[in-house]
Symmetry: C2
Subunit: 156 residues, 2 copies
């Protein structure tokens, strides 16, 4: 079941991020920062909306998205993650569909996903392609030398 | 003369932005927000560095840049602007060169510039091309329908 996150979901979200193999400590810290902004200021003022996938009351996955400043109707999907123990059940797909529904509900028209071109993100990129996203642009050596930024988009 | 901005430059910077024809009220507001963060927290904690070009003690132009989160050595040039009354003297070029020197000084290797693909930004894009930037990627309909994001990069 996908739902808007409540303050009680914070520990569960942080717990999921710490279980994601490909997330670096800096990335975990970034999720925590966005969560803290969201809790402190709320969705509208922080610009971050969090959704959670719950299984037996436990947070099994989450997504964070929000409007991109200075655009009209463009939203960033900042994070989407499913606990490795809860995979292959379609939770990622459900979370992504809920993000898109949320974007439409907020008057959005375009979803942007930024990810890495590295081999360890092959599955991540395949996930977005399968969900109807287009590989729209690449910025070489963005994250570091030999680690490109890959930008996916979907008109919703 | 290009120098690091001091708190006294705030009014001059806001004044320059309000004189830029292509800046929208939202963009002026965004410059003010970054400036306030910089004044409140300082360059390191805010992530924003401001440079100013002064003429007879007056702020004639400015630039704002900073490290991109989750990257190693990639910096965003957030804003660069020269007062229309102070143009054709090379201040923009001087500001850009100083940004690049600042990025190198901070251990950076790649500068990213995001701008619009609209016709009214033709001169802006020509400015970056002339300064050795590469048009690296385009995201269609990013700012709004028919208004693309154009990403320039330069290895410094």
């Amino acid at each position: 079941m996908i739902a808007s996150a409540t303050p009680a979901d914070g520990d569960g979200i942080i717990n999921v991020t710490s279980n994601i193999e490909v997330f670096s400590p800096e990335e975990n810290e970034c999720v925590a920062e966005l969560w803290n902004e969201f809790i402190l200021k709320g969705s509208r003022e922080s610009g971050y909306s969090f959704l959670v996938a719950r299984e037996s009351g436990r947070v099994a996955g989450f997504a964070c998205y929000g409007p991109r400043a200075l655009t009209s109707g463009t939203f960033d999907l900042y994070w989407i993650a499913v606990d490795p123990r809860a995979r292959r059940k379609g939770l990622g797909k459900e979370l992504l569909a809920s993000v898109e529904a949320g974007v439409i509900n907020d008057g959005g028209r375009l979803v942007i996903v930024e990810t890495s071109g590295q081999e360890k993100y092959d599955q991540t990129r395949a996930f977005y392609i399968a969900a109807g996203y287009t590989l729209e642009a690449t910025v070489k050596d963005f994250y570091q030398q030999e680690d490109d930024l890959v930008i996916f988009t979907k008109h919703v």
